[in-house]
């Protein structure tokens, strides 16, 4: 009797479904990065100036720095629970392609953290004097950028799995790699804010996204295996 092997795409989809289901059982985990994003964004008008004209000028940068920090925070729970209860090991031993499984996990993570961030960004943008008309553009740029961040971040999260105080190290490792996303993302947001065409930086961002979701799961899978040894 031959066992039927689940095709990798189906396995990935199952992982997405599982992660989404588990996350909805503990919604507090999802609120933290979002709350952090709101808090960080609020710090700027309080510490710099409440004048909307000034805030509008720095709004893209503020939104992106806050989003990056929130994403870093959120990466903490990408692997943590599964590593603790042994699920990650099961994934590695399952005979399924760990790359595809991690593709699914990271995609689910983005749905749970990046998408809410993207939805929240125009709201915080409004508090920074950004015109409401720019909302769609801001959502699109943050959504795309956070997707790339989730994938690149997954490599760092996998590398720092067993490390004590891994959070700080994770930030140090990820930040150099995240800088291009920050640069293009905030340029795209800046253009969207001014109502100009933001396609060129979006295309570059899109290229980074494609590169990261094809290559990052490979690196993350290698890193997970190393961490589980």
């Amino acid at each position: 009797m031959t066992a039927e092997v689940t095709p990798p795409l189906t396995a990935a989809r199952l992982v997405v479904a599982r992660d989404l289901m588990l996350a909805f059982r503990r919604p507090e985990q999802l609120v933290h990065p979002l709350a952090f994003f709101v808090l960080v964004t609020t710090l700027f008008p309080l510490s710099i100036s409440p004048e909307l004209a000034q805030l509008r000028a720095i709004a893209p940068g503020v939104l992106w720095v806050a989003a990056l920090l929130a994403a870093l925070m959120a990466l903490d729970f990408l692997f943590r629970d599964d590593a603790q209860d042994g699920t990650l090991e099961q994934y590695a031993l399952s005979g399924q392609s760990l790359t595809w499984l991690l593709l699914g996990k990271t995609g689910a993570h983005w749905l749970l953290t990046g998408v809410p961030l993207a939805l929240m960004a125009p709201v915080m943008g409004y508090t920074l004097g950004v015109p409401v008309a720019a909302s769609a553009g801001i959502m699109a740029t943050v959504a795309l950028g956070s997707l790339a961040l989730s994938f690149i971040g997954s490599i760092g999260a996998a590398l720092t799995l067993g490390v004590r105080r891994g959070g700080v190290l994770l930030a140090i490792l990820i930040l150099p790699l995240a800088v291009p996303i920050l640069i293009f993302g905030s340029r795209a947001t800046e253009l969207a804010l001014r109502g100009e065409a933001y396609a060129p930086p979006m295309e570059l961002l899109g290229a980074i996204v494609v590169l990261s979701f094809t290559l990052a799961p490979l690196a993350a899978a290698a890193a997970v295996r190393i961490s589980l040894e």
Partner: protein, 245 residues
């Protein structure tokens, strides 16, 4: 015939002994070249038409920047070899490269700043080349930090190897940033194929300096490599012999 040689490259005692024998050669030749370049660059080469004597900073800045990129590339290649073929010596090479690369990246940045202030009027500007070189420094430091966070040397080797490989995308970005974007930093004056855009009496000390620094790197690498190899060998008998020599 070639395979025996390749296998020997992966043998810790062989490399340990070879490194020990080669280090003084690389070291002394580097010293001679560097002293020569120093004298030539500071005394003999004529002052530049536009930049006066300030351009002499180039004789340390360019080799430092060259080292920062070359060393990272070697580090990433060695890391990949170690990861894919599980060769301890390769991991030892990668580990040995990092501090050297990091320090010369810092030198490149600092000398670049000291060159920038009189020439462009500013110590720093967030243009693609300077920014990506700064990121290179962070990558080196992150690599060393990741290594340090593991107690198990083997795990440290393999985890940091992944990081080194992922980070190698930054190397072409630094190199081609002046080509792809409008950068304040000047474009290449040196070319492997085309005509150099720099006058010969000023070019010679630069080439000698770059060669000297490259050999210097080889010497320091071999020195560090021996230490790294020893750290990775548990109870091999060859160590007893090697230590007593």
């Amino acid at each position: 015939m070639t395979w025996t040689w390749f296998h020997r490259l992966g043998s810790p005692p062989y490399i340990y002994r070879l490194a020990g024998r080669l280090t003084p050669w690389f070291g002394w030749i580097a010293a001679i070249l560097l002293l020569g370049a120093l004298f030539d660059g500071l005394v003999i080469a004529p002052p530049d038409y536009q930049q006066g004597d300030g351009f002499r900073i180039m004789y340390v800045h360019v080799p430092a920047a060259w080292l920062s990129l070359m060393i990272y590339t070697w580090m990433a290649v060695a890391a990949a070899v170690g990861l894919i073929w599980r060769i301890k010596v390769a991991h030892a090479v990668a580990a040995a490269c990092a501090p050297i690369g990091a320090s010369f990246t810092a030198v490149a940045l600092a000398t670049g700043m000291l060159f920038g202030k009189p020439m462009w009027g500013t110590y720093w500007v967030w243009d693609p080349r300077l920014t990506s070189e700064l990121l290179l420094l962070f990558l080196y430091l992150g690599y060393m930090g990741l290594r340090a966070s593991f107690d198990d040397l083997q795990r440290a080797d393999r985890a940091s190897a992944v990081l080194a490989i992922v980070g190698v995308v930054n190397v072409p970005i630094v190199k081609y940033s002046v080509v792809w974007w409008n950068s304040l930093h000047q474009g290449s004056s040196l070319s492997l194929t085309g005509k150099d855009t720099i006058a010969t009496p000023m070019l010679i000390p630069l080439l000698v300096s770059m060669l000297g620094f490259t050999l210097y790197f080889a010497a320091i690498l071999l020195l560090r490599l021996r230490g790294e190899i020893l750290r990775r060998e548990r109870s091999a008998n060859w160590i007893r012999e090697a230590l007593s020599s």
